[in-house]
């Protein structure tokens, strides 16, 4: 079992080396500002995809309101930083808490719904959040909240992303995650095995929403402005597409999905009229040839090549 921790340590070391290389390339100006921005966006989207995967992929509750929670985090962070001058880390933490509380408030009444009904309810609630923000003058209303300092560097985005990925990974590999997976597989059997399904569904909703808030906070501090139009249901769909593409129930898949889709839209940014077509073609082909997503529910660490590192049982 100690090999588990060794594997964690190795993964962290590899991530740090990767970070050092990328940061080096940025400092040496080999990667320009455009790519720095996209690398930050990739990290933010990975946080969103992995946290949404906890709700949709592991717990099996189709939520279409992720952009709403992201908006809550973005505005909370922006207000704190601009109006209350809190340090960035504190803004991030409070964004987590606010979005998580809202996630629980929305989760409690809606989790008795299942499947399509839950999807529609969360879709609606995500839109409500956006419309409410649009009509609150304190946060700038429809014009958006301006004058946010650009605190989000690649380093911030990367390390917060690393934290979230490890958090979710360890979450799903504990009794908490097993409870979520049991709910997805067979809710009645899960309840009969002593799993309080309501509690674990709300908990997954809270954690997922909270990290969406964190991603929102990072996002808000990237562009000097947050605007309600960044958090429409189309944005929510975008994150669902990422996790479906990567494979529901695979963290590796979510990371890959977020990475690929963000990179594709960055590469195609010069041809905006072609972008959505190519995007759509990729998805259609994927659903045709690999409907379970790139990784299905398999993790990179369970592939044969990684088994050698784990050693015997």
């Amino acid at each position: 079992m100690n090999s588990l921790r060794k594997l964690d340590a190795k993964a962290i070391i590899i991530s740090l080396i990767g970070f050092a290389i990328l940061q080096g390339l940025l400092t040496a100006d080999i990667l320009d500002n455009f790519w720095e921005l996209n690398m930050i966006l990739i990290c933010i989207n990975i946080i969103l995809a992995v946290s949404l995967n906890l709700i949709n992929g592991y717990t099996g509750q189709l939520s279409l309101g992720h952009a709403g929670f992201m908006a809550v985090g973005a505005y909370t962070g922006a207000v704190l930083t601009v109006n209350f001058h809190t340090p960035f880390l504190i803004s991030i933490i409070i964004s987590f808490v606010t979005a998580a509380i809202l996630g629980a408030m929305i989760g409690l009444p809606t989790i008795r719904l299942s499947g399509d009904y839950l999807a529609i309810a969360t879709l609606g609630l995500g839109e409500i959040i956006r419309i409410v923000i649009m009509n609150v003058n304190y946060v700038g209303g429809a014009a958006g909240f301006m004058g946010i300092p650009k605190y989000t560097t690649f380093a911030w985005a990367f390390f917060v992303m690393l934290f979230v990925v490890f958090f979710i990974k360890n979450y799903v590999n504990s009794s908490f995650g097993r409870a979520c997976i049991a709910i997805r597989e067979n809710e009645i059997a899960a309840e009969t095995m002593g799993v309080n399904t309501t509690k674990y569904k709300v908990l997954a909703f809270m954690v997922g929403a909270g990290f969406a808030g964190v991603a929102g906070c990072l996002f808000g501090h990237t562009f000097y402005i947050v605007h309600p139009s960044s958090f429409t249901f189309l944005a929510s769909f975008n994150y669902v597409i990422m996790i479906v593409m990567g494979g529901l129930g695979s963290i590796t898949g979510s990371i890959a999905g977020a990475f690929i889709l963000t990179t594709v839209s960055a590469l195609l940014s010069a041809w905006p009229e072609l972008r959505m077509i190519i995007y759509a073609v990729i998805l259609i082909l994927l659903m045709f040839y690999r409907p379970q997503g790139l990784f299905g529910n398999i993790e990179l660490t369970s592939l044969p090549i990684f088994k050698r590192f784990k050693g015997g049982k």
Partner: protein, 255 residues
């Protein structure tokens, strides 16, 4: 002998339909009891009432001296009632071992922070249930299939896994819903031996629903007969076999 489960005048209405009416039953500690009756008599409804899937319309169910009124199935499982399902409900996409591990859920003692940080307690507890799970699978001759996906197991093995999973919740009372369904006589005989052995080894009470009369008459100490939601007879297997009411219910009236 002390009473473990006691149902008093329990009724369950679905709209105008009385699925179970004035149902009385007592199960003592360590007893092995059969519940039989024609299709649609309300046997599974009774199970669902005992496990909290349904709430009784009227009447009370006490378990180990406490009322089960208003409790969720998960709370009832934590109190010590475990069950299997007539139509197998495994976590079919998960491995055999994971199926059992989930059932240890209520016996794990670490919190969210300990799980995320993977501190010593998390490691120790996970190791403990991994070992306990494999140990349990060994009893059910599933140890070499521990890493297989549950839905790929043969039917008989799936039934065994469901019983193993129910036992992992460490119940005082085990409810088996047609454990021998779809089994051949050879498998049924093995199952009978296993049920007897489980009861002794785990010091349980068992209530089972079964249509296979050789199994019911062979191992049950007392039998309840249900028809149209009411108990029409209850007693020793010998008495039940000769009871004219029971014969009428199963073979039809003389008229």
């Amino acid at each position: 002998m002390s009473i473990l489960l006691e149902a008093k005048e329990v009724s369950k209405m679905f709209g105008g339909l009385k699925a179970v009416s004035n149902f009385d039953m007592t199960i003592n500690k360590g007893e092995l009891i059969g519940l039989i009756g024609p299709n649609g008599a309300g046997k599974t409804t009774a199970f669902n009432l005992f496990t909290g899937v349904y709430q009784p319309t009227t009447g009370v169910i006490n378990f180990a001296g406490k009322s089960l009124k208003g409790m969720k199935p998960s709370q009832i499982t934590q109190r010590g009632i475990a069950r299997t399902f007539q139509n197998i409900r495994l976590f079919s996409e998960l491995s055999v071992l994971d199926n059992v591990k989930i059932a240890y859920h209520t016996h794990l003692k670490y919190n969210l922070a300990e799980a995320v940080l993977r501190v010593g307690r998390y490691m120790k507890e996970e190791k403990r249930i991994e070992e306990a799970g494999r140990e349990l699978l060994k009893i059910f001759k599933l140890e070499d299939k521990a890493d297989e996906i549950a839905k790929n197991l043969p039917y008989g093995a799936q039934r065994r896994l469901e019983i193993a999973r129910a036992l992992a919740t460490r119940p005082q009372l085990l409810l088996l819903d047609e454990p021998a369904a779809g089994m051949n006589p050879q498998e049924t005989n093995e199952l009978m031996d296993m049920i007897r052995w489980i009861r002794k080894e785990f010091a349980l009470s068992i209530l089972l629903i079964e249509h296979d009369m050789s199994l019911v008459m062979g191992i049950c100490e007392r039998i309840y007969v249900l028809e149209y939601g009411s108990i029409i007879a209850h007693g020793l297997p010998e008495e039940i076999k000769k009871n004219p009411e029971v014969i009428r219910a199963y073979l039809g009236g003389e008229a």
